[in-house]
């Protein structure tokens, strides 16, 4: 265990805690203040929080591990698809922001509730958002435990590391809510950026420069330098699936969706849309290159997700190793805190508040939100302490596809006046049930994956959801004209100033 790296790491966590607590304590009087930072987030802060929130533990550790196995083609799968997701700030984010401002929305299910006037749609979307976010929180906590164990040469066991991450996040969220979340996201985003660029430089330098690193990796693992990559992973169908998958599921992560509400103006969202691909381009190169270069360096024998810590440790001074590991932590913590907050807001407003109706006063709503932050963090920690398989498998096979099922419903809510509550609810329920059925049948070996024709399951599942949505909407009664007109007037023209 290197004391320098541990000191850097402890200082980093302490800084997060102090900044989150001190800055976040100001002026929190309403749920909008706590959950949305008062809808006053400017363009740069919005960009940082969107990027830091979306780039999770998987970004640092999972990317490098996947690139170690699959190769350079993985950069295209992840970076191009994620860049394309920026367009959803326009297609989805702009209308969500306008609806949020006009109707005072705080949570994603509230948008569906206002659009269709149906508690059923609200609860169905709530279930989907909650179901696929809690395991994702657990993934971030798992990443934290792994990183701390690696950083301290197992002096801090995985379980203790996971608990420490959970504690720090919960602490600053309790006091500052979204404001603390954003301020720490800015710090975390900066750490990620510096760590990624510096880490890339040191690893490349340690391997003799870019050219020599690539040549060494090429001679040891030539399949990583071409399609279909290691294990024949990147087929045309898989390539297409991932490009579309990120577009469909990333904006439907409830913590990303909620960030569309927090923008101070449309200008802030527009700035983020343009800057997002640039950030993605720069950041994603680091884990992919280092993952591939893992084959240029002898001595690595662990699980693929450990290749990035190994390479940085081998090729950098301990100071930078600490910084890069802090960057990895920044990635996972900035995602986990946002997920905790959005889950807390949804359970407070879409579940408790609707069940207790007027009995839940505003002051209590804030207290309940904070209590739920603690409760959800505890649940995430318990799940993280169970053995649930590799990060990559969990994320790809359940969360991403499960959330992509909500994509047709969201597009319909924002663009298709004739869509109905039953159509939206049916598309989500049928999509999820179908996906889970096929998932478990495949897990049990009862059926194989040939039904997807080589695509990721998300593609046929979303097609099915779309067909169900259209069919059921046509056969059922749409919401009243007044409600539809009011909603579309808001999202097409923007709220009255």
């Amino acid at each position: 265990m290197n004391p320098t790296t541990v000191v850097i790491f402890v200082l980093y966590l302490a800084a997060l805690l102090v900044i989150g607590l001190v800055v976040g304590r100001r002026r929190i009087r309403t749920p909008t203040d706590y959950f949305l930072a008062g809808r006053k987030v400017g363009p740069v802060a919005l960009l940082f929080t969107l990027a830091a929130t979306n780039f999770s533990a998987f970004f640092f550790f999972g990317f490098a591990g996947a690139s170690f196995k699959i190769g350079y083609g993985y950069y295209g799968i992840m970076a191009v698809g994620t860049s394309l997701m920026a367009l959803s700030f326009f297609f989805i984010g702009r209308r969500v922001w306008r609806a949020g401002k006009r109707f005072g929305l705080i949570t994603p299910p509230e948008l569906f509730s206002v659009r269709y006037g149906s508690p059923m749609v609200r609860y169905v979307t709530l279930c989907a958002f909650v179901l696929f976010t809690i395991p994702y929180i657990a993934t971030q906590i798992t990443g934290g435990g792994i990183a701390l164990e690696s950083l301290t040469d197992k002096a801090v066991p995985y379980e203790l590391g996971a608990m420490l991450v959970t504690f720090v996040i919960s602490a600053y969220l309790l006091f500052g809510g979204m404001r603390s979340d954003i301020i720490t996201d800015i710090l975390q985003g900066a750490v990620m950026l510096v760590a990624a660029l510096a880490g890339l430089g040191f690893v490349a330098s340690g391997l003799g420069g870019l050219q020599r690193a690539n040549e060494a990796a090429l001679s040891n693992a030539p399949e990583l330098f071409s399609f279909p990559g290691g294990g024949g992973f990147i087929t045309i169908q898989i390539w297409f699936s991932y490009l579309v998958l990120w577009m469909m599921c990333d904006p439907l992560f409830p913590h990303i969706f909620q960030r569309f509400y927090i923008a101070r103006s449309e200008k802030a969202l527009r700035f983020s849309m343009v800057a997002y691909p640039v950030v993605t381009m720069a950041l994603f190169a680091f884990p992919v290159m280092v993952g591939v270069w893992g084959h240029a360096s002898a001595g690595f024998s662990g699980a693929p997700d450990g290749i990035l810590p190994f390479m940085v440790k081998e090729n950098s001074p301990s100071l930078l190793y600490g910084l890069v590991m802090a960057g990895g932590f920044a990635a996972l913590m900035s995602t986990a805190d946002s997920q905790l907050l959005v889950l807390s807001s949804m359970l407070t407003r879409d579940l408790c508040k609707t069940l207790f109706k007027g009995k839940l006063l505003r002051g209590r709503e804030l207290k309940l939100g904070r209590l739920l932050v603690l409760l959800i963090a505890g649940i995430g920690l318990v799940i993280a302490l169970l053995d649930l398989g590799s990060i990559f498998d969990i994320l790809t096979r359940t969360t991403f596809t499960g959330l992509a099922v909500l994509f047709p419903a969201t597009i319909a809510a924002l663009y298709w006046k004739r869509s109905t509550a039953w159509g939206v609810a049916s598309s989500i329920l049928v999509g999820e049930v179908f996906y889970f059925t096929t998932f478990f049948l495949q897990e049990k070996g009862i059926m194989d994956g040939s039904w997807t024709f080589g695509f990721l399951p998300a593609i046929p599942v979303v097609l099915l959801s779309t067909m169900v949505l259209i069919s059921v909407s046509v056969l059922t009664r749409p919401p009243g004209k007044k409600r539809v007109d009011e909603f579309f007037k808001a999202v097409e023209n923007g709220p009255s100033q």
Binding site: R94, N214, L243, V274
Partner: protein, 74 residues
């Protein structure tokens, strides 16, 4: 009322199609297995190029399609 036409005109569709075609078609089938500057493979370089095209699409959308209502407007 604002008219929403995200795919109006051929430009956005063309650039999007190009951004997908570069890595999808050119890299895997024409340059597959070859390496370019500093030993980077074309599957990687083409992905970087396609990201610039995505950026162009975003700028196009921001400048020409994303219209905001003025302060005090309807």
């Amino acid at each position: 009322m604002e008219r929403f036409k995200p795919f109006s005109g051929n430009t956005i569709g063309l650039i999007l199609a190009l951004s997908l075609l570069v890595p999808l078609v050119i890299a895997p089938y024409l340059f597959n297995g070859r390496t370019g500057p500093m030993g980077f493979p074309w599957v990687f370089i083409s992905a970087v190029i396609s990201q610039f095209l995505v950026l162009m699409v975003c700028i196009y959308v921001a400048v020409f399609l994303w219209k905001e209502k003025r302060e005090g407007g309807p």
